[in-house]
């Protein structure tokens, strides 16, 4: 393999997954199927501050506090203050469960610049059904409070076939609340979402209607609120580029200190994952095999290697290639040119064959420790 000059890349974004603990049980969660039995191995406050400082030194400027639910960490305010002081632009990515007006004030004083609140449905019942917690009224109250305290707010609505028809309701709700930015994020199929794919994947018709509804909303309301619609890539003809290119822009640190090029990379079981307890972030980013392996295009095999579009999508998502074909070097099967594109079309067919009935044949597997244990038992 040709030598890749890793000095060229700067991880502009650090995603700090502070904990996998979460009061919600969303069946499309991107956290690993294997959840830790306890929180005792999570990075300490001091370790996180050291990691953030090392990331700043590498040039990271955007910081997302995520999880799990980051509010579970009692030191969140302290971490925000430390990060802001170092020059990070701090974003909080939360379900709002555990948030209250005092904490919002505390985080604002600490230097939080942006808060993103996720909704699991546009009404109380849907939100409770998919989040596994009766949290709708609280989310509404906290959304209003964030706006009242004048902190830029984004709303995130995760779409799947049981709530995708609510797009217009959700956009109206977001506008009424006064959000600046709304992300209509279709579930992408990794981790828990992949396990529940037959029960979650929308039809092409549902997807078209949701996108059309978003466009109708944009035409009706040319206000300040921006709405982003993210389609599930199973319905695309070309794959999505991995996080702007594997090991080029994003760096994720997991609750226990593993360093990843994206949130999902742990699904590639064949790889070894460096940890901040064993080496500096700089050394990991520049030299770890995990990061070097899929940088650039030299690692590619056919049909990617000779494809004129290879620089555009870089062969697509390595995690998806691995999950759908068992080979992390394969062309992302979302691509029509992939010899294994049928893996995607048959997934769509399989999901459609199970859709439409009141009681679907297989129930959704919600993300909680009991189900994680059950899955671990069947997989070993």
């Amino acid at each position: 393999m040709a030598h890749i000059d890793s000095n060229h890349y700067i991880p502009m974004w650090l995603l700090a997954e502070l904990t996998y603990a979460c009061p919600l049980q969303c069946p499309y969660c991107s956290n690993p199927l294997q959840l830790p039995a306890s929180r005792k191995d999570e990075l300490s406050t001091e370790e996180w501050i050291r990691v953030m400082r090392q990331a700043r030194k590498l040039g990271a400027v955007q910081l997302g506090f995520s999880g799990g639910e980051p509010l579970v960490r009692r030191d969140l305010g302290e971490l925000i203050a430390a990060a802001d002081e170092m020059g990070f632009y701090c974003n909080l990515i939360t379900s709002a469960i555990g948030l209250n007006a005092d904490k919002i004030t505390q985080f604002k004083q600490a230097g939080i610049k942006h808060i993103q609140i996720s909704f699991q449905g546009s009404d109380r019942e849907t939100n409770a059904r998919f989040g596994g917690s009766d949290s709708f009224d609280h989310k509404m109250a906290m959304t209003r409070e964030v706006i009242r305290q004048d902190i830029p707010l984004g709303l995130n609505f995760v779409l799947h076939r049981h709530n995708i028809h609510q797009v217009t309701d959700f956009l109206n709700l977001a506008e009424e609340l006064g959000a600046e930015f709304v992300e209509l994020a279709n579930t992408q199929y990794y981790a828990w979402a992949l396990h529940n794919r037959d029960q979650l994947l929308p039809s092409a018709a549902q997807l078209q209607e949701a996108e059309a509804a978003t466009n109708r909303f944009r035409q009706r309301h040319q206000g300040n609120m921006r709405a982003l619609f993210v389609a599930p890539d199973y319905y695309e003809s070309r794959p999505k580029k991995c996080s702007n290119g594997w090991g080029t822009t994003f760096i994720t640190v997991t609750p226990e200190g593993d360093v990843l090029p994206c949130q999902s990379a742990r699904v590639i079981e064949a790889l070894e994952f460096p940890n901040v307890r064993e080496g500096s972030l700089e050394d990991i980013w520049r030299h770890a095999d995990l990061f070097q392996r899929f940088r650039g295009t030299d690692w590619m095999q056919e049909p990617c290697a000779s494809c004129p579009e290879k620089e555009i999508d870089l062969g697509g998502c390595r995690c998806q290639a691995y999950l759908l074909t068992g080979d992390a070097y394969a062309t992302d099967p979302v691509c029509e040119l992939s010899p294994q594109h049928d893996r995607v079309s048959s997934a769509i067919e399989s999901a459609q064959s199970q859709a439409g009935t009141e009681q679907e044949a297989v129930p959704l597997m919600f993300r909680n420790t009991a189900n994680a244990r059950k899955l671990a038992a069947t997989q070993n």
Binding site: I10, M12, K57, L58, G59, V61, Q62, G64, G87, Y89, N91, K113, H114, Q116, P152, G154, E180, F181
Partner: protein, 93 residues
């Protein structure tokens, strides 16, 4: 196009402008995004920390860069983009 050079504006208070050693340039940070700035853009935005009018901004820059002929037009053009992108926001007087 109306001349807005009398209306005061300032850098969006929710955004963060800073020099980055690793990037060797100024960056402007905003919710879930960032832009790397050219030296000229950074020089303009650095002067917008406090409310300022277009006329004041241009006068100040002309003083410091007397050799730049097309400066007023370039600055006005940049400010238009900066307004569209919410990098700068109007200040109520």
């Amino acid at each position: 196009m109306t001349d807005q050079s009398a209306d005061p504006f300032r850098l969006n208070p929710d955004y963060r402008l800073q020099y980055e050693e690793a990037q060797e340039c100024h960056v402007l940070l905003y919710p879930e995004g960032l832009v790397k700035l050219s030296e000229t853009a950074a020089e303009i935005l650095k002067r917008c920390g406090e409310p300022i009018t277009g006329a004041e901004l241009i006068a100040g820059l002309q003083q410091d860069y007397p050799e730049a002929d097309s400066l007023p037009d370039d600055v006005r053009e940049f400010l238009q983009v900066a307004r569209q992108q919410d990098w700068i926001v109007a200040v109520e007087v």
